[in-house]
Amino acid sequence: MASIHVDIVSAEGQIHTGEAQMVFAPAEMGEVGIAPRHTPLLTKLVPGAVRVQQADGSELSFFVGGGILEVQPHLVTVLADSALRAKDADEAAALKAKQDAEEKLAGAKGDIDLAKAQAELIEAAARLQFVQKLKNASHR
């Protein structure tokens, strides 16, 4: 039976590596299912569960808070984000680094809290959903 190699990594460590029959991932345009010999695909991930169907039929579930999905015919790579990310938060962080430079080299705080809180909320909601799904699955 054909199988596809899966690597799930985040900046803080390797999460999973192994062979799979099928991989499901929460892509930005909707959930995608990847079977062996899938055509090359590159897409962003949103917070949610990456599910890996192993060769023996068992399924593994991993939570990702967003990231990148790269598919080659023989290979699936999930580059998970470890940090919470929001576009505004990035902007605010950049602004802060600049201000820091000015302050330190010559001698105000940015308003990053709202953007960061929003990103945290989205991630927390997705995480909660993931946990609930796992719970339901184990009850059945």
Partner: protein, 286 residues
Amino acid sequence: MPGSKEIRTKIKSVKNTQKITRAMEKVAMSKMRKAQDRMAQARPYAEKIRRTLGHIAQANAEYVHPFMVERPAKRVGLIIVTSDRGLAGGLNVNTFRVALKALREYKEKNVEVELALIGNKAVSYFKRLGGNVTATQTHLGDRPHLDQLLGVIKVMTDAYREGRIDRLMLVSSTFVNTMTQRPQLRQLLPVEPVKDEKLLAHWDYIYEPSPAGLLDFVLQRYIESQVYQAVIENAACEQSARMVAMKSATDNAGKIITNLQLVYNKARQAAITKEISEIVGGAAAV
């Protein structure tokens, strides 16, 4: 017994210093192990994203991202990674030496340089030296987190996007082994991907949603992972450099104590001999 009190005080003070350096050595030793673990943990991500980038470079894409296009370097961005604290031997000095050499070369070629500094030591160094500093980040702690670096990275990548800089370089210490750390100058932008895998002859990705946004996202992540890797590697370097420096400081303190003890014993012996000869001389006179 002249000077013996001074010598005793000196021995005591050196002993106290030795206690401190020995404690610092032990602390650095335990921190070093954790820092090395973190460095190893971050490696898979860096490897995988490099591989993905290698794939992207081989795709016959209709869209080529500006991060992958070489252009003449009129202005250069330089990210310098140092530690927050000192007492780490020649670690930061060696990093600055490499950075200054690069700065001098750019100056000769009339290339302007924008600096981004990570770590307290770099900030205070360039505060004294002067220079065009656009972004700084300090107080990363023992466990640097990607979150803390995003601001600095964004400032530099935005500068590249807007054409304010044409090249982005990184100076940091690389970890060879516990005894050796080597400062290194590396190019981050434009990206030079490694094409070590052979893929199909003619193919391109399905991009969801658009190639431009996606490649931007991937390349941004790639730069972030490179800088993050450099910072945690630097943290591991810092701890091992400190451990070695403190070990030699402890050894040197031991040597000083031995020498001082010898001087003290001689002085004491001389005083006793003198006293005896005085007594004998006195007795003979009577």
